[in-house]
Symmetry: C2
């Protein structure tokens, strides 16, 4: 309203009595004569000049915007991820353009390709579609999905986490284990949670079973599963590893409704490290993903010059945390 027209480099140049190019150099940190430097800086200050990023992007074919694609922000894990990514990008003078797919393959694909019209400097994404096509000429980092050689992937140590969950249940006195997951909670890299679990059980010579719940009606499928494994008021397993905290939480509730006590009758471990209210206590005993480190690494990888893309699969270590659904 007040200032009807934008301040441009040309205005600064006029105000400082120098040429346009000189202003550009000062703005971009290119060395320039000492007195010119001062005059330009003063003019910038006086006029309140701010660089127009669109014009810069158009001209230099590079912007300070990174595109981030996630399923949603309801899942506390994704919310934390978005939070950390945003801060880390800010710290490195970049901005986050966020897209939410709700798991839709079509949306994943169209957002993925939107970079072609946006001139973003990179993409960080967590997609479900196993064969999403990526724009060839832009740095891309996947989370929990390994699209093949040359493309970076950041994930937690899912295999190790699966092992760790089994070990912790055994340490806590469990003798028969079970693993629960939904189809969507076990795509690509995260599928290794089961593999690690299975391996640890096998190594220990412990009986176990794995069950995949229908994504459509997980709650009723969950209840059905539990009833099928219950006889005379007891379950035929005493330790349960769930592929996500979300599932673990549902399982705990269903068990309580069936009159079973957690952790007395059955102990549960989830995966993610989701907290109840964002920054308070865990909602279950769990394998904690190092979200902050993962975010940092994603940003580092996506911003680094494409030349040095050495290792493409990055697995970050997880740890176990007590959250009330195990003995300790």
């Amino acid at each position: 309203m007040a200032d009807s027209k934008r301040i441009t480099m040309k205005d600064v140049a006029r105000e400082a009595g120098v040429a346009l190019g000189t202003v550009s150099k000062v703005v971009n940190g290119v060395p320039v004569g000492k007195s010119y430097q001062r005059r330009v800086e003063e003019a910038i200050e006086r006029l309140g000049y701010r660089v127009n990023r669109q014009a810069r992007a158009l001209r230099s074919n590079k912007s300070s915007i990174v595109e981030v694609i996630l399923p949603d922000l309801h899942n506390p894990l994704f919310a934390r991820l978005a939070d950390c990514l945003c801060r880390e990008l800010s710290r490195r003078s970049h901005q986050m353009l966020l897209f939410l797919t709700k798991g839709s393959f079509d949306l994943e694909q169209s957002y993925m390709l939107m970079s072609e019209q946006q001139m973003v400097s990179g993409i960080i994404c967590l997609t479900l579609n196993p064969k999403v096509r990526i724009p060839g000429d832009i740095p891309t980092v996947f989370i929990d999905r390994n699209p093949g050689p040359g493309i970076a992937c950041v994930t937690s140590d899912n295999y190790g986490g699966g092992c760790l969950a089994a070990q912790k249940l055994l340490e806590n006195g469990c003798t028969r284990l079970a693993f629960l997951h939904t189809a969507s909670s076990l795509h690509d890299e995260t599928g290794k949670r089961r593999d690690g679990f299975v391996c640890a059980c096998t190594d220990a010579g412990i009986p176990f079973r794995c069950e995949c719940l229908d994504d459509g009606a997980p709650d009723s499928a969950l209840e059905e599963f539990l009833r099928a494994h219950q006889s005379e008021g007891r379950l035929d397993f005493d330790g349960l590893f769930c592929a996500t905290d979300h599932l673990a939480h549902s399982a705990r509730r269903a068990l309580n409704q069936m009159g079973m006590r957690v952790p007395e009758d059955v102990q549960i471990i989830g995966y993610d490290g989701a907290q109840r209210l964002g920054d308070q206590d865990l909602c279950c005993s769990t394998i904690v993903q190092p979200v902050e480190e993962m975010a940092r690494l994603c940003v580092e990888l996506v911003l680094q010059t494409s030349s040095e893309r050495i290792p493409c699969l990055h697995q970050l270590p997880v740890c176990y945390a007590y959250g009330g659904t195990t003995n300790r």
Copy 2:
């Protein structure tokens, strides 16, 4: 890598054998000769052309990006807000550039002014700084903060919600009430939660007290408050309204640790409608904010042409939801 250079309108024009301006018209839906229309569309399809939004923004001085400023995404309310805003913007062919301030006044201000270099088409923000300066020439919508005439503000009916909380506690048999909040949970519009609560108590002739907890160490301040109001194993109030679900959750935990039972000994109502794991059960009985509607309205207001900015304070209705910390 594969395609070394971008496809531009010029390429399409050459391919279709028409002039540049004609392509632009087709792309922007401006009427054009039937046969030209077809030829251009075919060329676009054949070449896989996509409009360059930066160039468009530079030229037309308008982009499809809306800047959203929030404190963080750990708070489930903010996460839901960001989620809904993102979807709503998408639905209207816009993108969300997200900034997180963690409540820092400086960051709020600098992100607020960043729009000046980004050519965004609007700002939706939830800021704490009472006198943040807004860029004059860009549509801005505040959440939970009313910066004065002419600037749009979207909020839940905080006053009505405060009343409702008191009423519900009374309905559930409480006879002495208390209100708890932190400084940051009670800024500007949200302060009316207390006003409504106070008014309802006064009208009903019910004794009550209000207490402000130190933001720095809310947990210890909380405990101290509770102990001060406890004698012989009983509290001197039996109904507690907390300014946020977050606070309500903390209060419940602290009370449990002190050996008090919720809701038997004291009933608690929070504010927000935060869910435990994003889409599961409420973490306490609460006054639910209509987040989705608020997001929709924010987007509508920020995108509408600045001419018709009639009412500037929009209060959306809240409702009460049982979440286990009251009798019903």
